[in-house]
Symmetry: C2
Subunit: 169 residues, 2 copies
Amino acid sequence: MTEPAFQDQYPDDVSHCFGCGRLNDHGHQLKSRWDGDETVAWFRPEPYHTATPGFVYGGLIASLVDCHGTATAAAASHRAEGRPMGPDETLRFVTASLHVDFLRPTPLGGPLQVRGQVETLTARKAVVAVSVIADGTVCARGRVVAVRMPETMGATAGPAARIMEDAGS
Amino acid sequence: MTEPAFQDQYPDDVSHCFGCGRLNDHGHQLKSRWDGDETVAWFRPEPYHTATPGFVYGGLIASLVDCHGTATAAAASHRAEGRPMGPDETLRFVTASLHVDFLRPTPLGGPLQVRGQVETLTARKAVVAVSVIADGTVCARGRVVAVRMPETMGATAGPAARIMEDAGS
């Protein structure tokens, strides 16, 4: 049986992200899972996700890097703490900083493989390296600095803002 | 009379970008213009462009930074060379690297102001600093390294890939 995706184990109130929330009907609904010590997600861009005709636009690639990075941060935190993800338990991370190097134009048409590797992990912060691969060729490399989402983020930006500023990049 | 947006002066064959192309009916159709020595664009996210409820998802913010950055690079190159933009003439830039620091959660609901400042400009490369502002507060700061799009990008990724790799970040 396939393990459920990390994002499908987020609590309902943090499952509305356009990039990866299972409760966002308009969104990309990215699904990330473990693949050994790395993480992987697959995504097939729509024909209109163009940069110039034939290539994927950079904003979508940045979105994939971002959501796969924060999902990897959540899963890695659970693995490090030895407790399973679940709808009442799952830690949720937000992005403090995002970097993407576009190594070559990403061809539009086939599925993209998104791979994540945890570079550093502490109780409140993770740095995740992410690659976006088309037909075996790495087209973009990114890095996400993800920080633990404060419980209050839904209610007030204050604590979240402080945590994000503290985290640096 | 309002000046036409930079993106509305791109040649047809490079006007399909999901983030800013006037010929992409599904896309964001971002419009960037001069505001003195800086550039500005306004964008109102849709209600479903959520991170957690009430906040804008990071992938959209990255898209705005990206497209406003490359548009600013094109406009600045024209201004530096003293020749107007136009559908047969406009230089087009692509993104070699993109960085975004999310300083605080970006509230969802009102229009976002996107401001660009050219940091460096050469014949084939520009570095543009971009801020995303909600209701007077800077919520994200980004930096785009943009390189001249080779004429062959529509036909083959080879030359574009070489230019993007040369440009570094």
